[in-house]
């Protein structure tokens, strides 16, 4: 039991060290973000967003892997740090579905900054929250 607690402590310590080691102070959206979206607090769908800044545009992908979706556009209003993301994916049956998200960057100075707002996928609508990993 004590050993398990010790191992868990070590794991958290390593994660904390890793987080500080990869702190990102450049373009605020650059990096990997994870979280979820859904219409209710219990019906949630996992989200992973990977974004990078090339000096002119933010590019990225949604849910990297075999079913990943490139982000069609990412617009950032730096006057209030709001973000609009659009992508065209396919639903479970293979039908095209448009994704649109509107959110706000919070805790900008933190390594674990967050992006929260509204998310729509086809006719489904809900809220989303992703945190920079």
């Amino acid at each position: 039991m004590q050993s398990r607690a010790f191992r868990r402590g070590c794991l958290w310590a390593c994660l904390a060290l890793a987080a500080s080691g990869f702190a990102q102070e450049g373009y605020p959206l650059t990096g990997t973000w994870s979280g979820d979206w859904g219409a209710t607090a219990t019906q949630r769908t996992h989200l992973t967003l990977v974004m990078s800044w090339d000096g002119k545009n933010v590019t990225g992908i949604l849910n990297p892997g075999p079913h990943s979706t490139p982000l069609a556009s990412v617009f950032v209003d730096v006057s209030n740090w709001t973000v609009r993301i659009e992508a065209d994916a396919k639903d479970a049956s293979g039908k095209p579905v448009h994704i649109a998200a509107q959110g706000r960057l919070d805790d900008l100075g933190s390594y674990h900054r967050t992006l929260t707002g509204t998310w729509s996928e086809g006719t489904a609508k809900g809220d989303f929250k992703v945190t920079r990993e």
Partner: protein, 372 residues
């Protein structure tokens, strides 16, 4: 609202201008300059530690509850230069402190005055006597005539603080800021550097939040020009036989940086491993060391004050030593993902003779300050 914010920043700057920032962390983010605190208590501990000396005192409140306060009294090197020693105060002495309280609920203060109860003697007062200023001897040189960036043979010394608080583009009128790089007037932000819109917005955010998220305050290494802005100074160690120059940093956890001077070409940006100090190759142009660096990570602020950058950062630094006591530093910042064009800034640094960099590790002093 905006005008009120500018006014608040201006007032903060005006007050902070009177206090030194002798730490990796931002003074502005640590202490609340809008408030004052008066403490009377008994000394329980003296931490004569570089770069910030602390005295801990037990303070009893009206209800009889005793709490231990950490009182920052300044940089021990500066204190010793003013004639003060650790034994100016002893454990058990009763003192009265007036100062600035820390932000938040930490029992910590920055002392504006320390008075020994009983005798009424004021302690740790800065000397008003001007420091000796003899004409500077010429820069030391190697037997082949090339200028040396280190101490003259048989002597010690290191490079001290920069003469300006933050890197700004060297054109146009000077920009007022405090020793943390906090602008007196936030509307000057656009004159600091040719920012892209996102970078200026982020810079202004950092300024408005009093630089509280500075990675250096979490003991992360100070990359880029920031490495020459630490309170603890730095040294060049020229290993000519190995074709490299080491930069030994007194701040940022006593890191080092390697500048290759063996004629190797600069690496390809996509191939170098990204790091705090980047991949540096140097060459001499007469008496000027020119250093080209790429391969930076995005985990640090380029300068005090919160200048941002991306992995596309490319620095060209020029170091020259016109006399023994002066190092001229000029840096050209080229980061097209952050700035609209390359720009140049710089400063001079002063030689600290007959001393070595004191041992200091950011983490151990951070423990004693408990402001993170």
């Amino acid at each position: 609202m905006k005008r009120a914010l500018v006014y608040l920043l201006a007032m903060t700057w005006a007050i902070l201008g009177a206090f030194p920032a002798s730490a990796d962390r931002s003074f502005s983010a640590t202490y609340d300059t809008e408030r004052q605190v008066t403490l009377a208590g008994v000394v329980t501990q003296i931490e004569w530690v570089n770069p910030r000396a602390f005295v801990r005192i037990d303070v009893r409140d009206a209800a009889g509850t005793v709490s231990n306060w950490a009182v920052e009294i300044g940089n021990p090197l500066d204190l010793e230069r003013d004639g003060w020693k650790r034994n100016a105060l002893h454990i058990g002495d009763s003192i009265r402190v007036e100062g600035l309280p820390a932000r938040g609920r930490a029992k910590q203060a920055f002392a504006k005055s320390v008075v020994l109860a009983g005798s009424g003697k004021r302690l740790f007062v800065a000397s008003n006597k001007p420091r000796a200023s003899a004409p500077a001897p010429p820069a030391p040189r190697w037997p082949d005539g090339r200028v040396s960036l280190g101490p003259p043979p048989g002597q010690t010394g290191y490079w001290g603080a920069a003469n300006v608080p933050s890197l700004v583009e060297t054109k146009g009128a000077p920009i007022s800021m405090n020793s943390d790089g906090l602008l007196r007037n936030l509307s000057d932000a656009g004159r600091v550097a040719p920012f892209l819109p996102w970078a200026q917005a982020l810079y202004e955010y950092r300024q408005r939040s009093l630089l509280r998220d500075d990675p250096a305050s979490r003991c992360l290494p100070p990359g880029g020009p920031r490495q020459f802005q630490t309170a603890n100074g730095f040294q060049f160690v020229e290993q000519r036989e190995l074709g490299r120059i080491l930069v030994l940093l007194g701040g940022g956890d006593r890191n080092w940086r390697v500048i290759s001077t063996d004629g190797r070409p600069q690496g390809q940006p996509d191939e170098v491993v990204r790091s705090y100090y980047g991949n540096s190759v140097g060459r001499w142009e007469g008496d000027t060391l020119v250093v080209d660096s790429i391969g930076f990570n995005e985990s640090f602020w380029l300068s005090k004050g919160g200048l941002p950058h991306t992995e596309a950062l490319h620095l060209t630094e020029r170091f020259s030593r016109p006399d023994l006591n002066t190092l001229k530093y000029q840096v050209t910042v080229d980061d097209p993902r952050t700035y609209t064009r390359p720009w140049t800034g710089g400063w001079t640094q002063q030689w600290v003779p007959n001393q070595d960099i004191q041992e200091y590790f950011c983490e151990e002093n951070a423990e004693s300050t408990f402001i993170r």
